[in-house]
């Protein structure tokens, strides 16, 4: 019997989440931020599936279903976000989020 249990996966997920968060918070590049988001989503997925595997009652697939949905939404989000990035790039001729702070005025 393998000694790998739930905590291991949760820890991996936590690491993924944290790194993604770092990416989101500290990148100045919009695409970079997008990558961070993807990482975070992956972390979430991992947790879903892990819990589904270890905790949920046998036979229930809720976690995996959720992970599928997340993947789908992630795809959509990626498509939109990248389109937006391109638009931003067209208007500001940069994708550095520091320089695109219209929200301040």
């Amino acid at each position: 019997m393998s000694s790998i249990g739930l905590p291991h996966f949760l820890i991996v997920g936590a690491a993924l989440f944290a790194l993604g968060m770092v990416t989101v918070v500290t990148r100045r590049n919009a695409v970079g931020i997008l990558m961070g988001v993807e990482l975070i989503l992956n972390a979430a997925n991992l947790n879903f599936i892990a819990f589904n595997h270890f905790v949920a009652t046998p036979g229930s697939l809720a976690g995996q279903v959720f992970s599928i949905f997340v993947i789908v939404l992630a795809a959509a989000e990626a498509a939109i976000a990248l389109a937006i990035v391109l638009a931003i790039y067209q208007t500001f001729h940069t994708i550095d989020v520091q320089d695109t702070d219209l929200l301040r005025q």
């Binding site: 936590a14 790194l19 695409v31 970079g32 990482l39 697939l61 279903v65 993947i71």
Partner: protein, 281 residues
């Protein structure tokens, strides 16, 4: 630079080097099988090592003026060191080493090893994505992160999500991202420009805090682990589930996808138009 003379020199050195190596092995063999006397063996070894030192001296440690007495002394020292080392390894360290290796191998399951492999791959990929100075590298390390996660899915008996992960993330999103990077033509260039950071230390601190906290929770929380996790393939069951219990979300998701499709196309078109009439006048 390899004129004939020092070419010959090298060849001689090489020959002597080989001779020395053979000599070492041969002396050891003689001692083991032909029961050569220990003293004689050591002497032969010393000679052999002298040859080796002289040979090596031609290639690596050129700075030492190893010749004459100095050579003998030096190789004697080397011999002594090697001898001590060998003795140490054989009679002192060896039992511990073997024992430790045995225990270690006994401890590790192959499965766990694979798990750790994937986990490391994932986290390393994520870290690369987070901290790389060049966004291209970030993208590529993202790939590793995705693959690793897919691998982990497999461990959790989730075959379909694993496949979906590979197809959609790696095949779709990552490609998209790369496209975006290229389109915003910030490839290569000055890494600082392509992928600068902002308050990285604070971010890292935050991440550390997060990891700490979550790990703490993960370890400390009293999860109600169920008895026997199942490893059957789940694709079929998933399909059934989508069409029965989760039908509504399934439809909504498809609508969302459609909207996203249209939206992105529109944004893209607008952008194209802008550039075009930016060019036209």
């Amino acid at each position: 630079m390899a004129t004939a003379s020092n070419l010959r020199g090298w060849l001689v050195r090489l020959a002597v080097l080989a001779l020395g190596l053979f000599g070492m092995a041969g002396a050891a063999g003689l001692h083991k099988f032909a029961h050569l006397g220990l003293g004689l063996t050591l002497f032969l070894e010393y000679l052999a090592i002298t040859c080796v030192v002289w040979g090596i001296n031609g290639f690596v440690l050129r700075t030492l003026p190893l010749r004459g007495v100095l050579l003998l002394v030096f190789s004697a020292a080397a011999f002594g060191v090697l001898f001590l080392l060998a003795y140490f390894l054989r009679s002192v360290m060896a039992p511990f080493l073997f024992d430790a290796a045995g225990r270690f191998i006994g401890l590790v399951h192959l499965v766990d090893l694979a798990f750790y492999l994937f986990a490391v791959m994932t986290i390393a990929g994520a870290a690369g994505c987070a901290f790389s100075r060049n966004i291209i590298y970030s993208a590529w390390s993202l790939l590793f992160a995705f693959m690793g996660v897919a691998g982990l899915y497999v461990f959790l008996g989730a075959d379909f999500p694993a496949v979906a992960q590979v197809l959609i993330y790696v095949g779709g999103i990552l490609v998209l991202i790369l496209f975006a990077i290229m389109l915003t033509k910030q490839i290569g260039g000055d890494p600082k420009l392509t992928n600068a950071h902002l308050a990285l230390p604070m971010g890292a601190a935050l991440a550390a805090a997060t990891v700490g906290t979550l790990t703490y929770m993960a370890v400390m929380a009293p999860w109600k682990i169920q008895a026997a996790p199942s490893y059957e393939p789940v694709s079929g069951a998933l399909g059934v589930a989508f069409l029965t219990d989760y039908l509504l979300p399934f439809e909504v998701a498809s609508v969302v996808l459609l909207a996203a499709l249209i939206g992105s196309v529109i944004i893209a078109r607008k952008e194209i138009k802008e550039t075009s009439d930016a060019v036209s006048p």
